[in-house]
């Protein structure tokens, strides 16, 4: 877990740094949000996100392998619900931590770019940082507001906040619910999980390209409410499965 977070912090910064080096070599300076996307840092986040989900699944299944601690947990005289919530909370916190690290990366990357843009001379046009200021005024703000990726993680406005929150809850509860269904042999549970996955992908595709949907924007409220409804179902049914001990 710690390795994952450290990797998602260090790797993008190295990528951003090398992307800036490339830019200075080619004398073509992108805006920071474009540079960030082009450096591959968004991909690193995606990979880290997937790895975190896999790691979460592994911790669930690890209770059945080896120590078989799940049977101990289920027989302990504590509420089985706390088992459900603690597992879910740990996963949610880990995801949140990953997102938080992403903001740290965004910020550090910007500082690195700002530092390296002073005192340079471009090879082809011959412009130097004395002629023109290569850094946008208030650029970090603009990079946040103008980057589709950043606006998913740091939503602007209530509808986007609701959408991001519903994505977050639907992904975390859906993944856990899927695993619980598999353990309790309730395979019909994969249907709502599949529908949710489809919705999540659709919403993400839309929000990764919001600028190109500007002419015919879609309201995000229906998808957000639907995702939240699924999340509530996952929690209710998932905790029921645990309470009945069906996963043993």
């Amino acid at each position: 877990m710690a390795c994952l977070l450290a990797g998602s912090l260090i790797l993008p910064i190295m990528l951003i740094n090398s992307a800036i080096t490339d830019e200075l070599r080619s004398s073509f300076l992108h805006r920071y949000e474009d540079l960030y996307a082009a450096s591959g840092s968004e991909l690193v986040f995606l990979i880290a996100f997937v790895l975190l989900c896999l790691y979460f699944l592994v911790t669930i299944y690890a209770r059945y392998w080896g120590s078989k601690s799940i049977y101990t947990y289920l027989t302990l005289p504590v509420g089985r619900l706390s088992l459900y919530w603690s597992k879910l909370a740990v996963f949610a916190i880990s995801l949140l931590l990953l997102i938080g690290v992403q903001f740290l990366v965004y910020r550090l990357g910007y500082s690195i770019m700002a530092g390296r843009l002073s005192g340079i001379r471009l090879l082809i046009s011959g412009l130097t940082s004395d002629d023109i200021n290569f850094l946008m005024n208030n650029g970090l703000y603009l990079a946040h507001v103008r980057s589709e990726f950043s606006r998913i993680l740091l939503p602007l406005g209530f509808s986007r906040l609701l959408s991001s929150l519903s994505l977050f809850t639907a992904i975390s509860t859906g993944l856990y619910y899927g695993a619980l269904c598999e353990r309790s042999r309730k395979f019909y549970g994969f249907i709502p999980v599949g529908v949710t996955a489809y919705l999540v992908v659709r919403v993400l595709l839309y929000r990764m390209n919001e600028a190109s949907h500007a002419l015919n924007p879609t309201s995000l409220y229906p998808s957000s409410l639907l995702l939240l409804a699924f999340a509530v179902f996952f929690i209710v049914h998932g905790s029921q499965i645990i309470r009945r001990g069906a996963i043993a």
């Binding site: 080619s26 004398s27 073509f28 300076l29 992108h30 805006r31 474009d34 909370a89 740990v90 916190i93 880990s94 949140l96 931590l97 997102i99 938080g100 690290v101 903001f103 740290l104 965004y106 910020r107 471009l122 090879l123 082809i124 046009s125 412009l127 023109i132 200021n133 290569f134 850094l135 946008m136 005024n137 208030n138 650029g139 970090l140 703000y141 603009l142 946040h144 507001v145 103008r146 740091l154 939503p155 602007l156 406005g157 209530f158 509808s159 986007r160 919001e210 600028a211 949907h213 500007a214 002419l215 924007p217």
Partner: protein
């Protein structure tokens, strides 16, 4: 250490929340960190008393709304949850003006002039079938004399009524007529009798100069202001502005601006380009005109009051700064007459002759406010903003062959200007 182990989850949650909330608070706090202030260049800011200049500097993602009332500037920045489509900065113009939702095209088809009306959508592109009309004025074109302007400068639109006159150059003989044009569906025209699609001759005017009848006049264009038609001609080195009643066609006013010469493609510095721009303010019955000169550094601004006849209220022969020119790419000029003064907001681009053509388009734009009283400059100020920062990526581009972007989603521009 036992404490950390015991509360690891809570600590992790705290760190995560601090990181996320910190980023959110940080971005929110930087919202108003952009540059936006008014710099006085000449004159006293008292010239701005009693007037409100408002608008926004925006791109698809965010905007800064500004309001300059009595010389005091307020700005407010905000972002868009859903990026906004702001239309292309390039508009289909009909002659000197942009007609919302429509544009007109005119062609000469063997003596007759064929007009077409196109509906446009938000993005400015043509949609659907178009309508056509045809007029055949009794004109003859001797000695190569042809037109003094693009043909669609002769179109004036007043609600559903469309008027047209041919922008004939000096030397064209015959009778010039302002038609009220009758448009019909292009697809149906094959089944119509000629008299069904004839346009009505509405107003006749002479193509000979009043002072020296052997010399002709150049018809520059036709404009509509409220319920009046305005005919612009150049005769005897003056700009003649005639106002007609659109109900009966009576001549209401006749004004002249002395010392005015124009040409389609001027060769001398003292000539203005015929392709002027106009902006009609219907409720105050005013017409604002802008002519450019050859070098794009000495524009002529006119405000014409048509309330009672026709009167040239302000005639400003502007002189831009030494290393500045009008920007025909992204520049704009917005003028209004208030409290007996002419208020002008205008963007001007810096010139650097040493730079190759492509890089000149990324030279800084300056947004100025000019105030004129009796056609004399009494105040000049500049809105200092971060507008030019968006062009940094162009400035550093080594290969101009890929062209440059004017994507309104990514590039800030002044929009929704109003002078009250």
């Amino acid at each position: 250490m036992p404490f950390v182990q015991k509360h690891a989850a809570l600590l992790a949650l705290a760190v995560a929340v601090i990181l996320v909330l910190g980023a959110a608070i940080d971005v929110h706090a930087r919202k108003n960190d952009g540059t936006f202030y008014l710099k006085d260049i000449s004159g006293s800011r008292e010239a701005l008393d009693g007037v409100t200049i408002s608008g926004e500097l925006s791109d698809g993602y965010q905007r800064t709304v500004f309001r300059l009332a009595d010389g005091r500037l307020d700005t407010h920045s905000s972002w868009n949850g859903q990026p906004e489509w702001l239309g292309t900065s390039w508009r289909m113009r009909t002659g000197s003006k942009t007609i919302p939702g429509r544009f007109y095209n005119v062609q000469n088809e063997g003596g007759a002039f064929s007009l077409s009306s196109h509906d446009t959508d938000e993005s400015g592109s043509s949609i659907g079938f178009f309508k056509v009309a045809r007029v055949s004025p009794p004109l003859s074109f001797p000695n190569g004399a042809l037109y003094s302007n693009q043909l669609n400068y002769g179109i004036a639109v007043m609600g559903e009524r469309v008027f047209y006159t041919v922008p004939a150059a000096a030397g064209v003989k015959g009778k010039s007529i302002i038609y009220e044009v009758n448009f019909y569906d292009w697809a149906e025209s094959h089944f119509m009798q000629p008299n069904e699609y004839e346009s009505r001759a509405f107003i006749e005017y002479s193509l000979a100069s009043e002072k020296a009848p052997h010399r002709g006049i150049s018809v520059l264009g036709l404009e509509a202001v409220g319920d009046k038609l305005v005919l612009l001609t150049e005769e005897d080195e003056t700009l003649r502005i005639r106002s007609y009643d659109s109900a009966g066609g009576a001549l209401l006013g006749d004004a002249r601006l002395p010392d005015f010469r124009e040409d389609v493609l001027p060769t001398s510095k003292s000539f203005y380009r015929a392709s002027y721009l106009s902006d009609a303010e219907d409720q105050s019955n005013r017409l604002f005109l802008r002519f450019q000169n050859l070098s794009l550094t000495r524009p002529l601004l006119l405000s014409v009051n048509l309330t009672d006849g026709a009167e040239v209220e302000s005639a400003v022969r502007m002189t831009l700064g030494d290393e500045q020119e009008e920007d025909s790419f992204q520049g704009f000029t917005y003028a209004r007459e208030r409290n007996g003064k002419l208020y002008v907001m205008k963007t001007v681009r810096e010139i650097n002759e040493e730079l190759p053509g492509f890089y000149r388009l990324m030279l800084p734009l300056h947004a100025y406010i000019f105030v004129y009283e009796d056609s004399r400059l009494i105040y000049q100020g500049e809105f200092v903003t971060d507008l030019n920062d968006d062009s940094i990526e162009l400035a550093t581009r080594p290969d101009p062959s890929r062209g440059i972007s004017e994507d309104p989603m990514r590039y800030r521009a002044f929009r929704n200007l109003a002078i009250e």
